[in-house]
């Protein structure tokens, strides 16, 4: 169900909309003021009522995450905002930081108060220079107004927000790798437990939240947690509110659109995205960043034993509301809600090769299966594309990917394996076609040269 909203994107595209004046004029910083007047438990309860599922891709309920933080003790707590938006196809957090930075700063005050922190670090991907500049600008403005500092809004809750520049690696978007990077260490994911809520930034209790998760918090406290949750068509599934949807690739109007949760992919592509580029048939959609398995229009929803899914059973997955649980239950993954649309001009084999290259390049190399497996899959796809692979080698892809799956410290391994498994499963004929064509070419060359052995040695030289 398409329901456009403007909680975050009201000032998008407005000149100067990122400054504090228009933000305050439209009720900005009133939520933070209200939150600081509540108890910590009340703030967490309000966030829980809003059913904000983490917007970074994992979809964990934000209020619940906040409630994991230990009660205030002798250790300082930290709020860390993950602004290392690096998932291919995802570009929604950037719009918030560039065009509505004060929502994030205000959200930081609320979030920090909820978890007992006096400092928030926003870890921004290095390449996002404008985001960093706008965030720093917003921080300075908020400090001048006294919203940040020793006594924000006259309340005795000292609060500071800092922007930290990332050092450029996809893996630093993984929350514990981000914490290592923030501390100046090598950006490698940590083993869990201990979780950040026990042992996070600088060894202190820490909550890591996505930019959008934090930036939506002023809205939650403005309209009320439950009321905001009911914006969503999936309120009953515990997936509330409105969020930013991105759409890119082969659509006529790519971009970031804000809408209530419960939008379908078809609405995102055809209503918001303006339809497929050149009006060609759809090949598939990667719904929420490259780590999600690709979805095809002909896939049919079939969830048994849950009447909440009854309205969707028998329909195309494109008509399933985009929610964390609706996707999970149907074997898909919502991710960051930023869809990459591929029309039939795309060669799925080359697309898979492209993704494999990305994951090989970005694997931190800590765990054996991911370090070696991602490289192996890339090689196999390279050979498939070059027409040098055998059927036996094509059949290794799913074996390697299945053995990366779940066997690594962080979710990168799963995120690399999942799309590979989806591509080979859903586009097996195309992969086989490459292998067959390659074999035929080799055979033709061999025949032309007359000698089988000589032909083989030439073929291997060609590699």
């Amino acid at each position: 169900m398409l329901k456009r909203t403007e909680f975050l994107s009201k000032n998008y595209g407005v000149e100067g909309g990122w400054l504090i004046e228009p933000y305050v004029k439209s009720g900005g910083y009133q939520s933070a003021k209200r939150a600081l007047g509540m108890t910590r438990e009340q703030v967490v309860a309000e966030a829980k009522a809003a059913h904000i599922r983490g917007r970074g891709g994992a979809g964990f309920d934000c209020g619940t995450k906040w409630s994991f933080m230990p009660p205030p003790g002798d250790k300082p707590h930290y709020l860390v905002v993950n602004a290392d938006e690096g998932e291919p196809g995802t570009f929604k957090d950037r719009t918030i930081m560039e065009m509505n930075p004060h929502a994030l700063i205000e959200g930081c005050i609320i979030g920090a108060y909820a978890i007992g922190a006096h400092a928030a670090y926003i870890y921004v991907r290095d390449e996002l220079h404008l985001s960093k500049a706008r965030l720093w600008g917003a921080i300075h403005e908020a400090r001048e107004k006294g919203y940040l500092g020793e006594r924000p809004f006259g309340q005795s809750w000292a609060m500071q927000v800092y922007v930290h520049t990332g050092a450029g690696a996809y893996i630093c978007g993984e929350e514990t790798a981000l914490l290592n990077s923030l501390e100046g260490r090598r950006g490698e994911p940590r083993i869990k437990p201990p979780f950040p809520a026990q042992y996070g930034a600088f060894g202190m209790p820490t909550t890591v939240n996505n930019v959008e998760t934090i930036a939506i918090m002023p809205t939650v406290f403005k309209v009320g947690g439950d009321a905001f949750s009911r914006e969503s068509a999936l309120h009953d599934l515990g997936d509330g509110g409105a969020r930013l949807f991105g759409v890119s690739g082969h659509v006529k109007r790519p971009g970031v659109y804000e809408a209530a949760v419960g939008l379908t992919l078809r609405e995102l592509i055809y209503d918001l995205g303006g339809g497929i580029l050149d009006d060609r048939p759809l090949l598939g959609v990667i719904p929420g960043g490259s780590s999600c398995p690709i979805m095809l229009e002909e896939e049919i929803v079939n969830v048994e034993g849950d009447e909440r899914f009854a309205p969707y059973n028998g329909k195309s997955v494109l008509d399933l509301p985009m929610g964390v649980d609706t996707y999970r239950r149907t074997g898909n993954m919502l991710g960051t809600c930023c869809a990459i649309v591929l029309n039939d001009s795309v060669d799925p084999v080359r697309a898979a090769q492209n993704l494999a290259r990305f994951y090989r390049h970005e694997s931190c190399g800590q765990c054996t299966p991911c370090r070696e497996g991602c490289g192996w899959i890339e090689r196999l796809f390279d050979k498939v594309v070059a027409g040098e692979a055998t059927l036996e080698e094509l059949n290794q892809v799913h074996q390697v990917a299945s053995n990366i799956m779940g066997n690594t410290i962080c979710a990168f391994g799963d995120g690399a394996a999942t799309p590979m498994l989806a591509f080979v499963r859903k586009f097996r004929p195309q992969f086989e076609e490459y292998v067959r064509r390659g074999e035929a070419e080799r055979n033709a060359r061999r025949a032309a040269l007359g000698s089988g052995d000589h032909g083989r040695s030439l073929a291997s030289e060609a590699r």
Binding site: I191, T368, P369, G375, N407
Partner: protein
Amino acid sequence: MPSFKLDELEIPFEPGDTVIQAAHRVGVDIPHYCWHPGLSVAANCRMCLVEVAPPPGRPAMMLDVLRQDPTTGEYVPAKKPKLQPACQLKAAEGMDVRSQSSPHVAEARGAVQEMLLLNHPVDCPICDQAGECRLQDYWLEHQGTRKRMRDEVIHKPKAQVFGPTIVYDAERCIICTRCVRFCEEVAKDPVLDVRERGNLNEIVVSPGRQLDHGYTLMTEFVCPVGALTAVDFRFKARVWFLRSVRSVCQGCATGCNAFLDYDPRNQTLYRHRPRENLQVNQYWMCDHGMLDYRRAHEDRFVSAYVGEEEVTLEAGVNAAASALREVEPERLAVVLSAQHSNEDNFALLTLARDYLGTGQLFITNKPHGEADGILRHADKNPNTLGVEQLCGTTPPRPLQDLLAAIEAGQITHVLALSSVAPCEVEALQRLKRLVLITPFDGPLAGYADVLLPAATWAESTGTFVNFKGMAQESERAIRPEADARPAWKLIGALGRALGYAIDWQRLSDVRLAMATDPGAVVAPPPSARMAPVGAAE
């Protein structure tokens, strides 16, 4: 004690233990590369993955994977349980852990093993680690299949000199980070780290630095594969020809437990490496101690000397006896040695007190050096405390006192064990006779009138008492070279040449005599688990 189930075994554990720790303690090995009992948990090799049965009534966490129908070639979506690394998994009462009994674990370990060897050069024939390499062992146990990737492997830097002692081969490296963690956590010098990403990862030394702290050889020792090699051992021996004995390091009073590796065919020592003893050295040794074995072959005396002249052992013993016979007991001093075992010193003490009748007892030792607060002790002698205990209520006086007594003309003859000295010893030239029993050349040797060649610690079994008062046995590795004999044996022969009824033929004879002396401690046989070459952590 609480316990959990590992396959069919009940494993007891202490609160806070991980599964692999508890299993390791009772001698059950869960395959692993990156885990080391003395280092922090990295959980990066993923070899120790185990399956844990979910608590009753709770579903197991399952993951979506893909299989292939072998007949049709069709993909079949499948589920597999989420496995846990045993090195990170905290043991809990009643836990049901499946290691060897789970097909999912077998598949995961086989895959890890295959991936570790994917870009490995497999240059075992020229690799020093061959024969004690985890990759080889686990290939046999967990993989056993041919390599499926037919393409050129990834090439990385080879023969990188990390420092004076260590050479690194990035192609053999499995990035387990044991060496990195060792430098940071034990040696307290974080000089190593990982650079690059993914399968281009390699270990590097900090810019502007060398791997040159006091424990560099331990990085090679903790390396489970052939990536780090010791300059000292590189290309010297194949480990399957070596044998090991349980030795005690002679470098200082810490008394680190060690394995002394030697080749029985040429009676040569090749390597000294730590042996686990949590009360003494845990799992570690310093570079000095690990290289100290070389001394056993250097600056040796392997035949008897009278003056400058090389003589038979019998002639040497007789010359020594006649030198000692010519002096009255009050002008004779006997020098015990903190460098020698309790058995050697007991023999000398017995000869001095019970037969020669002298009360002039002194002790010599190496000068003190630096301590590092990790393992190295300032006292560079392995048995200072042992000699003191032997002498009981009348402790031996320091060598400086002997030199003063010689200057004063009170002492004319000296019978000394070992050639070391803590100070200048020019006063010895005033002696009429110095009889020296020593394996090595040293400050005292230049003044010896009669010199008898003793066996080194590597050539004889003996008890050494470390600074904590722990009596530990060091076993004989090689046969004594040429005419060299254990010092207690030479002392016995000397006693007999002097006409005394000393009948020590075997070490057990000396130890039987020691049993009657409350100060003479004999170490129990080494209790730490005996590991053959290469099987230690």
